[in-house]
């Protein structure tokens, strides 16, 4: 339902690209998360889709209609796209009810629709309040209700949870996506937090420096990342460079890049050959107790430093560590 073809945008006449040659598809009813660190072009991408910026190159097609291309541009208010802003952007001078009503004043039974939305987000009796009288989470839900009220064909959430503390965040994330699932709307969800993406998205699109590096189902991304950047987004990962290869005595292919997730490195493997293909010894520099597990900072003989986790409280100063060859991640590069 949403097709994006080689979309590019530069804010300085081509010297640097905020977004370069981005293409992807989105199926109706999907929840797609866009993940990337700050400056990776996430916001530019959604602003282009929403019509708040104009592309330099490429096209955007929504429900078989071209909404942006080099020679065509549909105004944002005509696109039927809902957008929930990072800072909510609720209208401070209007009540909650009027905020939701704002975008649907031409709709039939508009008041019923507003009430329906209020019920949906669980704020049935808050209609008469003003935004500043609500908590952050409630404001978030109002923003969602306001965006959903005009029945958009696509809903974009721009970093919706970044202003919230972690406890509230998980709870609200689940609430919001429960609501969204009920409506069946197609969702683009921008975040820098992989936990958010993994827990709600059907598909995840990874942006790095303005380019798409991988688009895949959530489970695949963990197992088969396209590069070290993607791998490290989903858990601490260490590159197996020449030094490590020497230390673990594991010669690997020259023309590839290899990495191992820290959590896959085993401490004091009991049986040498069964579990671990490659083993070395290391000095423990520091122990940090994190609840029931312990984080160890290790120094290898070659001087490399590594962080590993263990559950074993009785660790001597010199230990063995190792990993299995099937846990090695391999990228072309």
């Amino acid at each position: 339902m949403l097709t994006i073809k080689s979309l590019s945008k530069s804010f300085d006449k081509g010297k640097n690209y905020a977004l370069e040659d981005v293409s992807f598809d989105l199926k109706a009813g999907d929840v797609c998360a866009i993940v990337g660190e700050s400056g990776s072009g996430k916001t530019t991408l959604v602003r282009l889709i929403a019509g708040l910026e104009r592309p330099d190159h490429g096209s955007i097609v929504l429900e078989d209609k071209v909404i942006a291309s080099v020679d065509k541009f549909v105004q944002p208010e005509k696109r039927k796209i809902g957008l929930v802003f990072q800072e909510y952007a609720l209208f401070p001078h209007l009540t909650i009810f009027d905020n939701i009503l704002y975008g649907i004043s031409k709709m039939k039974n508009k008041k019923a629709r507003v009430q329906e939305m209020l019920d949906l987000v669980g704020l049935s009796d808050m209609g008469k309040r003003y935004p500043h009288q609500l908590s952050g989470g409630q404001q978030q839900r109002v923003a969602l209700a306001r965006a959903l009220a005009p029945k958009p064909s696509l809903l974009i959430l721009d970093e919706p949870f970044s202003n919230l503390d972690s406890m509230l965040r998980t709870q609200l994330r689940n609430e919001v996506f429960d609501i969204i699932k009920k409506t069946g709307v197609t969702v683009l969800f921008v975040t820098h937090d992989t936990q958010d993406a993994l827990s709600v998205a059907d598909e995840i699109l990874i942006l790095q420096k303005g380019k798409v590096v991988q688009k895949d189902a959530a489970a695949n991304l963990y197992v088969k990342p396209n590069n070290l950047y993607v791998a490290s987004l989903f858990g601490d990962t260490v590159q197996i460079n020449k030094n490590l290869q020497t230390a673990f005595h594991c010669p690997l292919k020259e023309d590839c890049c290899h990495a191992i997730r820290n959590e896959k490195i085993k401490v004091n493997p009991t049986t040498y050959d069964s579990d671990c293909d490659y083993i070395t010894t290391a000095q423990v520099i520091r122990k940090v107790v994190l609840g029931d597990s312990i984080q160890l900072l290790l120094k290898l003989e070659s001087g490399e430093q590594l962080t590993v986790m263990t559950k074993d409280a009785n660790i001597s100063d010199t230990i063995h560590i190792g990993f299995n060859s099937k846990d090695i991640l391999e990228f072309n590069q």
Binding site: P76, E77, I81, F85, F91, P92, H93, G103, P150
Partner: protein, 554 residues
């Protein structure tokens, strides 16, 4: 009574006094001293109130007061409507749309401020009266029967509006450019069109900014003397002059001023109330600029015409008339002396602008650093001077300064020094008077930018053990610089135009352009007044353009 923490105990007079003592710091005291200093002229006038009105008070109440009230109200209402129409529409169109000559119009729209409103009044009368340019035009077109009389109440409202609307334009545009983008995008994403977005969203949100500009306009409207008396419209201000000079009853004039001050005070309270209502507007500065919309060429030209209209009426036409007059009188009036006078005016204006802004900064920050909350409201008393006619302030200034001068003369005489007046008739008195008169002009833009700086910024500096003053210079001042600069420029322009104060308090042989223009105009030599008027306009134009650059950069 002895219940600890009970309401009665907490709010008893005794514990209130205790907290008052605890919370008053040196900043509270400094604030009070500065307010006192700036309000001194007003207080001296106020003291006169206790001596009761003169014997003609009942005569005035009976014969004149209803007309004064009615005319002043008429002007307030009509000027509000016109000023909002001109100021808000142009501010919105230049911030939201792309159209031909937009950049030029953006600063041209500020220029009407550079012309004293009584000069605009003369220029319009000159165009519309018998033998004026418009009349000649109608005659040439054989429309002899058309004669538009502009010298009446409606004409005065028009003239004042067209020369004062930039106050609203400037503050509304600043809001639209810097504050609004976030919500504007939200509105578009909800599929809402341009018109509804403006009326339902931007207009109500911009209200505090617009009202702040409007209050300045109305203060100017209420104390206008030149244009009102020429157009034969009797207002409070013309009444003050009449009872003071024609009826020789300063006491009565003071009574009228007091009434005027009450009206102004009501206006200020109205503004505060407005701002409080929409105070929950996000104060977060949005770093994305509002995006201008490209429309069809034909519509672009329509927008151009709408925006150009106030420039045409407020600047091009009056200046055109002045240039025509200047052209036919140049041989008799023009003198190289004007260059010198321009420089003097420029120097006086810039120094008084700096002094006034300095006082405004002191008031705003000292009252902020004071732990007493009501101090902030007291600080606002300092801005009342803007509402009081210049001539009244001049007298209010002369009362204390002459007393001080006499005391100084006595003291110095003991040392065998014959000093003469030290403060009066020198620039000191004049600068003091300008500071009293124009504090409001400096206070508002600085205060509004200062409000935008989140408290956490200075607070974090203070937590690091840095004192108020250092925090101000290192942290806050750089953040509010734009507001401070616009304040300097606005006061500068106002001082350039100022008349009655300057006339009464100026030292010998210091001339300002406004005084020069007045000397001609007051003797019905309106045409001859055009050259000094043009000099005022061009001198004031330089900083106006500068002000615009600042606003845009932001």
């Amino acid at each position: 009574m002895k219940q600890v923490g009970s309401n009665k105990e907490t709010f008893s007079l005794k514990s209130r006094l205790k907290r008052l003592k605890r919370d008053s710091n040196r900043w509270s005291i400094f604030t009070l001293i500065i307010v006192l200093f700036l309000a001194l002229p007003i207080i001296f006038i106020g003291v006169e109130l206790f001596s009761g009105p003169g014997e003609t008070w009942s005569h005035i109440v009976q014969h004149l007061l209803p007309e004064y009230i009615w005319n002043s109200l008429y002007l307030v209402v009509f000027c509000s409507v016109l000023v909002l129409l001109f100021g808000v529409s142009s501010a919105w169109l230049v911030s939201r749309f792309e159209f031909p000559f937009r950049k030029q119009l953006e600063w041209l729209l500020i220029l009407p401020l550079a012309i004293p409103s009584y000069i605009v009044g003369y220029a319009y009368a000159g165009m519309f009266d018998y033998g004026g340019s418009l009349d000649l035009f109608f005659r040439a077109m054989n429309f002899d029967f058309i004669r538009i009389d502009i010298m009446n109440r409606a004409g005065l409202a028009f003239v004042l509006s067209i020369s004062l609307f930039p106050y609203v334009y400037v503050s509304a545009r600043a809001f639209f450019l810097n504050q609004a983008n976030n919500l504007l995008e939200a509105s578009k994403m909800l599929g809402v069109g341009e018109r509804k977005t403006f009326f339902k969203l931007m207009l109500p949100l911009a209200r505090p900014a617009i009202v702040a500009g409007l209050v300045l306009v109305l203060m100017e409207v209420l104390n206008d003397y030149g244009a009102a008396s020429y157009y034969g419209v009797n207002t409070f201000t013309t009444g003050i002059f009449r009872s003071w000079f024609s009826l020789e009853e300063p006491e009565t004039a003071v009574y009228l001023s007091a009434l005027l001050i009450i009206i102004i005070f009501a206006l200020i309270l109205f503004e505060k109330w407005q701002v409080r209502k929409v105070k929950f507007t996000s104060s977060k500065t949005n770093n994305t600029h509002i995006q201008r919309k490209e429309t069809k060429k034909s519509i672009q030209w329509v927008i151009f015409s709408v925006v150009f209209l106030p420039v045409l009426l407020g600047f091009v036409l009056p200046v055109g008339q002045l240039i025509y007059w200047a052209f036919i009188t140049a041989s008799t009036v023009f003198d190289l002396e004007f260059i010198l006078i321009s420089l003097q005016s420029f120097g006086i204006a810039i120094v008084s602008a700096l002094i006034t802004v300095f006082f405004a900064l002191l008031l705003i920050y000292f009252s902020k650093w004071s732990a007493l909350r009501f101090i902030k409201n007291i600080a606002r008393i300092g801005v009342l001077g803007y509402a009081i006619p210049g001539a009244v302030i001049a007298i209010g200034i002369m009362i204390p300064t002459i007393a001080l001068d006499k005391w100084l003369i006595d003291v110095l005489a003991q040392f065998g020094i014959d000093s003469g007046l030290i403060i009066n008739g020198t620039l000191i008195a004049l600068f003091y008077a300008y500071a009293v008169r124009f504090l409001a002009v400096a206070y508002n833009p600085i205060d509004s930018t200062a409000l935008k700086v989140d408290n956490s910024i200075p607070d974090s500096s203070k937590v690091l053990g840095v004192g108020n003053l250092k925090t101000f210079f290192k942290i806050e001042f750089p953040l509010i610089k734009t507001g401070v600069f616009s304040a300097v420029i606005l006061v500068f322009i106002d001082v350039m135009k100022e008349l009655p104060l300057t006339l009464i308090l100026k030292p010998y042989h210091i001339d300002t352009l406004a005084v020069k223009a007045f000397e001609y105009a007051s003797d019905e030599m309106v045409m001859e007044a055009s050259i000094p008027s043009l000099f005022i306009i061009f001198t004031a134009m330089i900083p106006v353009i500068f002000l615009n650059k600042l606003l845009i950069k932001k």
